[in-house]
């Protein structure tokens, strides 16, 4: 039993983190929002260039991928990252160019009360996930209605007025595995966003003075920060465990492990986003400060591959 990052993995994760800090610095988000959240194809190709979408074909594991996606989540990189990664992994021949960054692939899961597609205007292929089948459609061909004011300006969305048709490209076990991997990679991004929210709040609490001392010296702030870390660390353990199990290096029930990860990573990201805003006080509520961006992304990611509550229900179903 060895459930700690290997040196290789540490190097991989550190490398991706440096890449993200250089190519997707957090200050680059506001300008993207000003464009309506449109994706920068050159940046997307650079993501592909460091191998983000082709990890699996390059021999990396799901756990390695989770470490990478943790960094993508930490940097709040916008775009259909999991969908493009999964397309490159599981539909390599059908959707050529996903791995190289030439084809941006999105995925919309048919859901109640509404089915929504993200980043529609920038997609080259749109996958529609319904039950245990995935169909591919031309993003320009589906009847949609734009959402004027998306909650997360970095995640533009369209309501899909119809989610039928298209060519079925995956069914059954492939889709089930797809959903497991999607949930775990999303959980990894949620974990990354949680830690980024903590880092930002802690940095602020160290520098911001009120009543003659840094607010981080007050127990109220300290304890909020500690509670954030607890949620994030527990979620991280669950997420890595799910990934390791998906890699075949564990004995847990796969669906259960995945649900635990997605449930707790969703809870953690929402909690850290919320408390991060609270620690920032009024500034946390401003556009200019990134605290609110972590919360908004947390809301978005919670709705991917089943929200926290749905996964709790799935766990209940297995008990």
């Amino acid at each position: 039993m060895d459930f700690w990052r290997t040196q290789d993995q540490e190097a991989l994760q550190d490398g991706i983190r440096s890449f993200c800090q250089g190519r997707f610095p957090i200050e680059s988000l506001q300008p993207i929002e000003a464009t309506g959240g449109r994706l920068d194809r050159a940046a997307w190709r650079d993501l592909a260039g460091v191998g983000v979408f082709s990890l699996r074909h390059d021999g990396f594991s799901i756990t390695d991928s989770a470490l990478v996606f943790e960094e993508l989540g930490r940097a709040l990189i916008p775009g259909p990252l999991t969908a493009t990664y999964l397309a490159a992994t599981h539909l390599r021949t059908v959707l050529e160019g996903a791995d190289s960054g030439e084809r941006i692939v999105g995925l919309a899961q048919v859901a109640e009360p509404v089915t929504m597609a993200e980043h529609l205007l920038d997609l080259d292929s749109l996958l529609i996930l319904q039950g245990d089948s995935i169909a591919v459609v031309d993003p320009n061909s589906v009847p949609t209605q734009v959402v004027e004011r998306p909650l997360d300006p970095l995640t533009p969305v369209h309501v899909m007025l119809s989610a039928t048709g298209g060519e079925i490209v995956a069914t059954g076990d492939v889709v089930r595995q797809w959903c497991r991997e999607g949930a775990v990679l999303t959980a990894a991004m949620q974990v990354g966003a949680s830690f980024a929210a903590i880092d930002l709040a802690v940095e602020y609490a160290k520098g911001r003075e009120q009543f003659g001392r840094p607010i981080g010296a007050f127990q109220a702030v300290k304890h909020m920060a500690a509670d954030m870390l607890v949620k994030a660390e527990v979620a991280r353990a669950a997420t890595y465990a799910a990934a390791v199990n998906l890699d075949g290096n564990g004995d847990d029930d796969l669906d259960r492990a995945v649900s635990v990860a997605k449930m707790l990573a969703g809870d953690a990201a929402l909690f850290c986003g919320k408390i991060g805003i609270q620690i920032h006080g009024g500034m946390g509520f401003t556009w200019e400060v990134n605290a609110q961006r972590y919360w908004k992304r947390a809301v978005v990611l919670d709705t991917h591959y089943g929200n926290s509550e749905m996964h709790a229900d799935a766990l209940a179903g297995s008990m």
Binding site: E148, L151, I277, W287
Partner: protein, 404 residues
């Protein structure tokens, strides 16, 4: 062993007099509201001002302006309960909110009533009540939030003027206001609470740079204001020099328990709407409302709101008896902030993907729930963070020792 001395009892019902007040108000609202123009777009500040102040003028003409102000200063001199009824009825009839008149009516005005000179009162109070003048507030600074008394914005006496240099933040409607109630530092040599002065700043004074501050929702009612040697006549000072902290705190004692009444009524509607939405939205083929867990959580929130409504009535009754609200105000805000966070979280779980839009989607009334969730993030921060509120409750009410 104990005797009943009088037949007076606690009563949650309204007296005949209160009911008459309500009936008259309701009739008036029914009469005038159809003539009120539609609400302007939220970022159209010029027309919002026209709309907000126009409504204020209508209230004034009908005798409802300054509902809780003393009669001698042009107010109606209503009791806290009548104020509650006023807020209930205007909310129920969907009348315009106090909007950008709020600083003038609820904070600056009452402060002037209590502390200003006869001339200052004569000049400002009628124009606030009529909606002629809009006020904003220049209290908070980037480095003076929870610790407001540490404010640094400097005013130096120069002949008959104060010359102001510094910065304020969270000044709502600064770009459209006529006057600003301002706290400035006039003495840096004394303990922080003792070197502050309260000034009336005309917003057309020279040397100000007003920059809108965008919130996470994208709205722009808040501003940052930068002062570069802005001159304000000494005659605009309210209270003594360096006595501004006391002057500003005077208004706090005006709290009559009505501060969150409109919010509360909206929240109660929000929960009812959420229950309705849960009955409409399907999850795994049946109504979301069939989920006992969801239903119980909504019902719990609904019950808590009922209790907070009762607490509001207790606070108002206390104000009516004693002239001020004790611990109830802080208790209310703490409970309410926390409740709204839970309500917001519950809403988003129900909406799931529909929460990704700030507007309604797909003919479902979801926008208000998303907005409500975001609003909830601010309640425990604005007007005293929950952390500061807990300190106040613990130290002032429970008597626990100060930190230092």
């Amino acid at each position: 062993m104990y005797q009943i001395l009088s037949r007076v009892a606690m009563d949650l019902r309204y007296t005949e007099q209160e009911q008459t007040f309500r009936a008259e108000l309701r009739a008036w609202l029914a009469d005038v509201l159809p003539s009120v123009a539609p609400e302007p777009h939220r970022d159209d500040w010029k027309n919002r001002r026209v709309w907000d102040t126009g409504w204020q003028r209508m209230l004034f003409d009908a005798g409802y302006a300054g509902i809780n102000w003393p009669k001698e200063y042009g107010g109606r001199g209503a009791t806290p309960t009548e104020h509650l009824i006023f807020l209930e009825e205007t909310e129920r009839m969907r009348a315009p909110y106090v909007g950008m008149n709020f600083v003038g009516l609820l904070h600056a005005g009452p402060t002037l009533v209590a502390e200003a000179s006869t001339e200052q009162k004569a000049h400002h109070l009628p124009s606030i009540l009529k909606g002629d003048h809009v006020w904003c507030q220049g209290f908070s600074e980037p480095n003076a939030g929870s610790d407001l008394a540490s404010l640094q914005c400097r005013a130096i006496r120069d002949g008959d003027d104060y010359v102001i240099t510094g910065q304020k933040i969270w000044t709502s409607f600064a770009h459209i206001a006529d006057y600003c109630e301002m706290l400035v530092r006039t003495d840096t040599e004394v303990p922080k609470h003792r070197g502050i002065t309260w000034l009336i700043l005309p917003m057309d004074a020279k040397g100000m740079d007003i920059r809108p501050l965008r919130t996470m929702e994208g709205s722009t009612e808040f501003c940052e204001v930068f002062f570069d040697e802005v001159r304000v006549p000494v005659a605009n000072r309210v209270g003594d020099e360096n006595d501004g902290w006391r002057v500003a705190m005077v208004t706090l004692s005006f709290e009559r328990g009505t501060a969150f009444v409109s919010e509360m009524l909206q929240s109660m509607e929000l929960v009812r709407d959420l229950a309705d939405l849960a009955k409409k939205v399907t999850r795994n083929g049946s109504a979301a409302w069939d989920d006992t867990g969801l239903r119980r959580d909504i019902a719990h929130l609904s019950g808590e709101l009922d209790a907070l409504w009762s607490l509001t009535k207790r606070n108002i009754s206390e104000a009516q008896r004693t002239g001020f609200v004790g611990v109830g105000g802080n208790v209310f805000k703490l409970a309410y902030s926390e409740l709204r966070q839970r309500l917001g979280e519950l809403s988003l779980r129900l909406l799931d993907r529909a929460s990704l839009s700030l507007d309604d989607v797909h003919e479902l009334p979801t926008g208000k729930h998303v907005h409500g969730r975001i609003h909830a993030l601010s309640i425990g921060i604005a007007a005293g963070t929950s952390q500061v509120q807990r300190n106040i409750v613990a130290e002032r009410t429970l008597g626990l020792p100060k930190d230092r």
